[in-house]
């Protein structure tokens, strides 16, 4: 992290190049002035100092220069120090000559040793620098990868913005077209597939080799992430398509079953009559009544299927008007009572919950569907009561239809609004499993919500919420 933070502080370059020109200059200054300064400092005491001590002290600028600037400034320091050592401290003073052979040997030994030392120190320094650079490079790469992986959930765009900021660019983005001309553009490739181009935008000096390496590696990682995102996207699409397709198959199969059953009943009854030699009026009446029931079923089913297709195609437009629920509940309850005379329906509608915003026709259908659903559920139960109650909370009106029938199975709450889904106990030829799906479509079209829950003490509660009106 520290490296990246340091890079932010120096937006011009995110991987600091070593042995820059100013460092080299300092090294030469240290080499020359350092050697001369030591010579100047020791000169007054040259009679009392041993040659060995002087030679050791002259090694200080040599080592310093080679550590600061590498072998070359070190060798420069070695040459200057050797000259100063000879001229200033080896008799005869002031000249570059040797009074005694041992002074020549001392001079040569010092020169050789200082050159070797500066060379070794320089090499060690270069290696240390190279290692440090490599470490900085790797750490930067780690940091970028870390950002990419941990912040991926926010999206690649957000990750790139953060990375660009950290590296001192104005922005970074993935473009579709391959603008590979700029040095700040990196092709995003996975294998042979070009996924896009990663482009860094900003006032940045030419990239160093190390910087280019880091960005190229980062680009490879971005390419993998993008590729994965695309594959995941494709996979989701495929899954969605598969599910839609399988739902359509089920819908088609169920619709065909529901349509064929009444047709089969009519065909069997009518052909039976046609095959008889004598027609008993009672039997004819019986058949006609069954035919009427079957055509009624067909009609209801066709209306429902058309509604469902209007909902699913998005062609359903709900009116937005003030609707008085009292006006709708009456006919809906009467219709259900007519078909299921045993069912007892009670209504508790709070005064402020009587008026909602929505489409009167659709709301009436929803109420009828929920009541019929409840009536079918309780028809074989001990408690045949159905309670409709409406309450208002803040701006919304909630209408609940509460029954004490067999209730919902685990998991029903989620799938009960799927077309043609039938609760096992409610399964009856009269309920094709479309009422709840259509109710959901209608309520959603009016901007409301619909749900199914368990009734405390047993049974099911279906509720929906619409915007209240004053």
């Amino acid at each position: 992290m520290s490296r990246v933070e340091r890079a932010t502080a120096m937006p011009s370059s995110f991987l600091r190049p070593h042995a820059s020109t100013w460092e080299l200059r300092i090294a030469y200054v240290v080499a020359i002035l350092g050697s001369l300064a030591i010579a100047a400092a020791l000169l007054p005491f040259r009679e009392g100092l041993s040659h060995t001590l002087v030679a050791f002290l002259f090694l200080v600028p040599v080592v310093a220069a080679s550590w600061l600037g590498g072998a070359v400034p070190g060798i420069a320091a070695a040459v200057v120090s050797s000259a100063a050592f000879n001229v200033g401290f080896l008799p005869p003073y002031g000249t570059f000559s040797f009074e005694r052979t041992e002074y020549l040997v001392a001079f040569l030994a010092f020169l050789t040793m200082s050159v070797v030392i500066s060379w070794l120190v320089g090499v060690a320094r270069d290696r240390a620098i190279a290692a440090e650079d490599r470490e900085a490079e790797v750490r930067l790469l780690f940091d970028l990868s870390h950002v990419l992986v941990t912040e991926r959930a926010e999206g690649v765009t957000a990750v790139l913005a953060r990375v660009a900021e950290r590296l001192g660019f104005v922005m970074a983005s993935v473009r579709d077209s391959a603008e590979e001309g700029s040095e700040m553009a990196f092709p995003l490739r996975v294998g042979d597939v070009l996924v896009g181009t990663l482009v860094f935008v900003g006032d940045h000096p030419p990239l160093s080799a190390a910087e280019t390496r880091v960005l190229r590696t980062f680009a490879d990682e971005v390419a993998l992430v993008l590729q994965q995102e695309r594959l995941e996207h494709d996979l989701r699409d495929a899954e969605l398509y598969r599910r839609t397709d399988s739902m359509r198959q089920t819908l088609l199969a169920t619709a065909s079953h529901e349509l064929k059953s009444p047709v089969a009943a009519i065909t069997a009854s009518v052909t039976d009559l046609l095959a008889r030699d004598e027609l008993d009026p009672t039997v004819v009446r019986d058949v006609l009544e069954d035919v009427r029931t079957s055509t009624g079923r067909l009609e209801q089913l066709i209306v429902n299927l058309l509604d469902l297709s209007r909902i699913e195609s998005g062609a359903l437009v709900a009116r937005d008007e003030v609707v008085d629920l009292d006006d709708l509940l009456g006919p809906a309850i009467d219709g259900v009572r007519e078909r299921w005379p045993d069912v007892e329906i009670s209504v508790e509608l709070a005064d402020d919950a009587a008026r909602v915003r929505g489409d009167a026709v659709l709301i009436e259908r929803v109420l009828t569907n929920l009541l019929e659903n409840a009536a079918r559920a309780v028809r074989a139960s001990a408690n045949r009561g159905i309670r409709v109650h409406g309450t208002r909370a803040e701006g919304d009106v909630t209408i609940s239809v509460v029954d004490h029938g067999p209730g919902l199975q685990f998991g029903d709450q989620r799938v009960v609004f799927t077309p043609f889904y039938r609760l096992e106990e409610r399964s009856t030829p009269l309920g094709a499993g479309l009422g709840l799906a259509i109710s959901k479509g209608f309520v959603t079209a009016m901007g409301g919500e619909i749900w199914a829950t368990d009734t405390p003490g047993g049974g099911a509660t279906f509720g929906f919420r619409l915007q209240g009106a004053s």
């Binding site: 059953s261 047709v263 069997a268 009854s269 052909t271 095959a275 096992e424």
Partner: protein, 228 residues
């Protein structure tokens, strides 16, 4: 002989009533059930002569009911289904159903299937004699004649004819025919097709529009003419 008892199983009240009405009017005693579990119970308790079973039932679907009934009873089962997918028919037949009828069906078709299955279940009556236009078939006498000419059948062709004529009007699946004609070393369905077309060429007045041996595509064949 007392009136045959037919158990009709369907969850659709209108279809149930239509079938019940059609069968009752033809001197059959009809019992009804609306789900698979009840049907299995009825078969065990009342031993009907025939079961008309819808495949799409609550509580226990028709295929399962079919298998359950076959565990303890050999009562003929006529399967009703709105699914006309072949695999459903084949699955039902594999599970022991004897014939099937796709909804919607006409009363005449229903009655023909019901009668065929009841007759098959009843002890055989009379000799296997059939006639259609100039064609005369006498199973017991092992003779087939067209007009004044004798039709010669190979032993295999004869076994095929015999197998089909033994159950007039009743569906014989490929598998059951292969077993009846060839036994355990049965060839494949393609060989059966070849033999059926050979027999048709020899006996049918118009082999392209068969009136003696009918085809149930993908499922099997059935003998179409009533005994004389």
């Amino acid at each position: 002989m007392s009136d045959p008892v037919v158990l009709v199983v369907d969850d659709d009240p209108q279809i149930l009533r239509a079938v019940e009405r059609a069968l009752t009017a033809r001197d059959m005693v009809v019992r009804t059930a609306t789900d698979g579990r009840a049907a299995v119970g009825e078969v065990a308790d009342d031993e009907p002569d025939l079961v008309v079973l819808d495949l799409n039932l609550p509580h226990m679907d028709g295929l399962t009911a079919c298998r359950e009934i076959r565990r303890s009873s050999r009562v003929p089962i006529l399967v009703l289904s709105v699914r006309d997918a072949e695999q459903d028919k084949v699955a039902a037949l594999d599970l022991g159903a004897d014939d099937y009828l796709s909804k919607p069906f006409g009363a005449a078709e229903l009655l023909a299937r019901v009668r065929a299955l009841l007759r098959r279940a009843a002890p055989p009556t009379g000799g296997g004699r059939f006639s259609l236009e100039g064609l005369r078939i006498d199973i017991d006498a092992r003779s087939v004649r067209r007009g004044s000419q004798t039709v010669h059948l190979t032993p295999t062709e004869w076994r095929l004819l015999e197998a089909l004529a033994a159950t007039p009007g009743v569906l014989r699946t490929h598998a059951s025919l292969l077993e009846s004609v060839w036994g355990v070393d049965a060839p494949d369905v393609e060989a059966l097709r070849v033999f059926v077309s050979q027999v048709r060429r020899k006996i049918e007045p118009d082999p392209r529009q068969p009136r003696v041996i009918g085809t149930d595509p993908g499922v099997g064949y059935r003998w179409l003419i009533e005994p004389a």
